[in-house]
């Protein structure tokens, strides 16, 4: 009870104990140790573990098992979808559409494609952080190959209307990729309702292990993809490399648990998040980044007028573990490209904190975190020159 409050679920979830158990069984003396590509009895046993997990993973997003390609995580899934579809389709068109609020796995894949001679339209979201389906419709041209718009944003939690965007793409015969790394397992996901051709997600954001993810690849019609890595023909030739049985098995269990708990957890976590926001508002001079309505349950992005982010971060160290942006970006001091795209100034980006909740977050966590944040903010404000407090927001 006296350790720091973990409010960085959007960066990674602790592994669910039942997932850890399954993985330990896999790695234990009686586990399926053989290479799942081996044809002998032990290889087939490992392959069966994998195929069973594939069913659980597919079920979470309303897909058929055969449309699931296992990868090393959402970064690889996003890259396989985006680089793979563009490179395979470069003779059909060189125009691509995405948004300015995507995760860097998406942003940087598109930047690479710009180097490879593709033209990318970068859609700017509204001030609520959402990309309007109409914007996508307007951006599509005859030579557009692929649209990639994320489901739930990793910094603000804001959710896009991917079903409407998917319809706009389907009608125009354009491939549609969705980065659902944050939303899968937290809110209902249905790849059919989304009209998505490609959907990326990852185990470690829903209670599974790090280092394993999936790309949903529609079976009918199946989009052409150039693999990122070539070799032993695993995953229908789309993703070579020995499958990690224990990782896949852990992912499978995590998806089952997430699916079973989903309606209850969605309500519970959303409730906690709103209580956290209510507490923080009492601090004064706070604002909320992104949409309060269309949002994933667990993410709250709050700005504190007059606050410098790194100092808030250190003031909270050991009390509240949170993030001043996407965890993947923390190493660099650049202001978040997502918050910038919502129209925030560099200083306002700096003054923002992402607090994200999940499966093991409690009422007490919320109380303790809010108290710690309030105290730190108050101290830093009292330390700052009065004129700076006016200026920074």
């Amino acid at each position: 009870m006296s350790g720091p409050v973990y409010l960085d679920y959007a960066a990674s979830w602790p592994v669910h104990p039942r997932v850890a158990e399954t993985m330990a069984d896999c790695l234990g003396p009686e586990g399926p140790h053989a290479n799942p590509s081996s044809s002998h009895a032990e290889g087939r046993r490992a392959a069966q573990v994998i195929e069973q997990a594939r069913e659980s993973v597919a079920a979470l997003i309303g897909a058929a098992p055969k449309s699931i390609v296992f990868t090393s995580g959402a970064t690889e899934s996003d890259n396989l979808a985006i680089l793979g579809a563009a490179r395979a389709g470069r003779d059909r068109g060189r125009h691509l559409v995405t948004s300015r609020i995507e995760h860097r796995a998406v942003v940087d894949a598109f930047r690479q494609l710009e180097h490879e001679g593709f033209e990318v339209t970068w859609l700017r979201p509204g001030p609520d952080g959402r990309v309007a389906p109409q914007q996508v419709e307007d951006a599509i041209r005859p030579e557009t190959l692929l649209v990639s718009v994320m489901h739930g944003n990793n910094e603000t939690g804001t959710v896009n209307d991917v079903a409407a965007i998917g319809t706009a793409c389907r009608v125009r015969g354009v491939l549609f990729h969705v980065d659902a790394a944050q939303g899968a397992g937290k809110v209902p996901v249905d790849v059919e309702a989304w009209n998505a051709d490609l959907v990326a997600f990852t185990a470690h954001k829903l209670g599974g292990p790090k280092g394993i993810g999936a790309l949903y690849v529609r079976a009918q019609p199946r989009p052409a993809l150039q693999p990122l890595q070539f070799g032993g023909g695993q995953e229908r030739g789309l993703r070579a490399g020995t499958l990690a049985t224990h990782q896949v098995a852990g992912f499978g269990v995590a998806c089952e648990l997430a699916r079973a708990d989903l309606p209850e957890e969605e309500r519970r976590v959303r409730g906690l998040r709103e209580r956290l926001w209510a507490h923080l508002q009492t601090v004064g001079g706070t604002w909320r980044n992104g949409s309060a309505e269309a949002s994933l349950p667990g993410i709250l992005n709050v700005g504190f007028a007059g606050i410098e982010g790194e100092s808030l971060f250190l003031a909270l160290d050991g009390k509240v573990l949170a993030s001043s942006g996407s965890a993947c970006n923390s190493a660099s001091a650049q202001p978040s490209h997502v918050l910038r795209a919502l129209g925030l100034s560099d200083l306002a980006c700096q003054a923002s904190l992402r607090l994200s909740l999940g499966r093991w977050s409690t009422e007490a966590d919320v109380q303790r975190a809010a108290d710690a944040v309030a105290e730190a903010v108050a101290r830093l404000r009292s330390l700052a020159p009065a004129a700076a407090l006016e200026r920074i927001r």
Partner: protein, 128 residues
Amino acid sequence: MTAAPGYSDRVRELFMRPPHAGSLPPGPGRVIAVEAVAPERGAWLEVTARVEGDTVVEARFRAWGCPHFIAACELAVARLEGRPPGEAVQFEPAALARELGVPAEKFGRLLVVEDALRALAAAPPESK
């Protein structure tokens, strides 16, 4: 290859509990107030110093910026006390950076500290 921001225990302590945080109210002696402002560089510093005779008898600061900056402000302002305000110009950003382990990319923030101290030294001998 994650670059975790490293703070020495010294920096943490100076940042968390800076004894010289605050402002000086008017009172005995001469109170000089200076500021150096560069929010785009991540630094904003206000220093007030009470000078009696030729000696800074008390100094306080208010700052907005990163932990390294705040720790540097505390250290620099603490060292003003007991000295003539003119000595502030001998403040050496590079030495302070070494002393606190301030990363190179933050060096610009220490120049803001220097600016404030120079302003202090340059304050007219008898304000009012």
